[in-house]
């Protein structure tokens, strides 16, 4: 899986930061505007997949490796479970024990933003890891270079 042409690489350098920022915005503001952890996580996975597709597998083996994706996946799941277990402070499993602020503010509704961040990291890293496994695996089978002529 080589990278793509110079135009695509330059555009990706500009645009990928905006995509990741947009994904983070959707995750953080999930309790105020439409969106939330799942939507933001999928957008983050899409942004990271764009970077890996544009820069080729050298990038995927050195910078955004498969191990980082698996580690982030597990950390996101652990953060979500931590929020759940800490709910015991409020009485039962998964209680919303932090104070509910003003409606519509960023820091409101208790544990919901923290759970959103955990889910966003988990879904984003998990789906990006699956994409890496699917895309990088094709190198091992040796996709025939003669067929790429049909892409034109």
């Amino acid at each position: 899986m080589q990278g793509m042409s110079l135009i695509v690489k330059n555009i990706t350098r500009i645009v990928a930061g905006f995509i990741i920022l947009f994904g983070a915005y959707i995750v953080l503001y999930g309790h105020v505007t439409p969106g939330g952890g799942f939507t933001g996580g999928v957008i983050l996975a899409g942004g990271l997949a764009l970077v890996v597709l544009a820069f080729g597998e050298e990038f995927a083996r050195n910078v955004l490796t498969h191990d980082i994706a698996r580690l982030a996946d597990s950390m996101g799941a652990l953060l979500f479970l931590l929020v759940a277990v800490l709910g015991f402070m409020g009485g039962v499993f998964f209680t919303n024990f932090l104070p509910l602020g003003d409606v519509g503010a960023l820091l409101s509704s208790g544990t919901i933003p923290i759970a959103n961040i955990g889910i966003g990291i988990k879904v984003g890293a998990g789906l990006f890891g699956v994409f890496l496994a699917l895309a990088a695996f094709r190198r091992a089978t040796g996709a025939a270079p003669a067929d790429t002529g049909r892409l034109a």
Binding site: I26, G30, H31, V32, T33, P34, G35, G36, G37, F38, T39, V42, I43, A45, G46, A49, D73, A77, F80, L81, A84, F93, F94, N96, L100, G101, V103, G104, S108, S109, G110, T111, I112, A115, N116, I119, K122, V123, G126, L127, G129, V130, F131, A133, L134, A135, F137, R138, A140, T141, G142, A143, A144, D147, T148, R150, L151
Partner: protein, 223 residues
């Protein structure tokens, strides 16, 4: 005639035609692109029905599914052959269609209104029915019952009480009620869903890993 209903029927018809083309066409790339059309049609229907979170999620998920499918199909284009018309699969599908038609026409149309078998008509969910609010009191403590009437369904009660936290309502404070339902009232289901995604991702890794598989010389898949 409601304009929302007309738009909805037009979109559903478009999706049905797209799915039939996706199933019957012989070129694999056209089939994948028609699935993309069905997915984007679903996203428009979600937007029309007042579900903006779902519309955003469906669009982004559809893009990722298309990227993965097109990347798999585009360098391995074998043409599909004509389907063998054996009787068992077609018979199974016709039986399923018959059962579903019986359910749709038998229960949706028949029975008294609000009877046990009747599905509520489109646009009139159970939320619109009201019951006395006294049933929200804890068991045996009728003195704690709130006054008035409340919705007959869980969703309606979440909408009424989902915002503030005082003696009468146990709210979440989230302005997005869907997130409040997903991460506070139904957080256990979200934990289960995170587990399902985790298992699917680990399953994909286990299928695709390179360690532990012997590689023959002269690999027959090398084309």
């Amino acid at each position: 005639m409601d304009p929302i209903l007309i738009l909805l029927l037009a979109l559903l018809g478009f999706m049905l035609i797209g799915s039939l083309i996706a199933i019957e066409t012989r070129d694999l790339l056209s089939s994948v692109i028609c699935v993309g059309a069905v997915g984007f049609g679903t996203s428009l229907v979600f937007l029309l029905l007042g579900a903006p979170d779902l519309a955003i999620t469906q669009v982004v998920v559809e893009i990722l599914v298309l990227v993965v499918l097109v990347r798999m199909v585009i360098t391995r284009r074998d043409e599909t052959h004509a389907t063998s018309r054996s009787t068992l699969p077609v018979g199974v599908v016709l039986l399923a269609l018959g059962v579903m038609a019986a359910v749709v026409f038998g229960t949706l149309a028949g029975g008294p209104a609000d009877g046990p078998l009747r599905v509520r008509p489109f646009g009139d969910p159970l939320m619109t029915a009201e019951v006395p609010a006294a049933r929200l009191a804890p068991a045996g403590r009728a003195d704690l019952a709130p006054p008035g009437t409340t919705s007959a369904s869980v969703g309606g009660t979440f909408l009424e009480q989902g915002l503030t936290e005082n003696a009468a309502s146990r709210g979440t404070g989230a302005a997005n009620y869907v997130m409040g339902v997903l991460l506070d009232y139904r957080a256990y289901d979200t934990l289960g869903e995170a587990t399902v995604i985790f298992v699917a991702v680990i399953g994909a890794y286990a299928v695709l890993r390179k360690v532990g598989r012997s590689r023959h010389a002269g690999n027959e898949s090398d084309r």
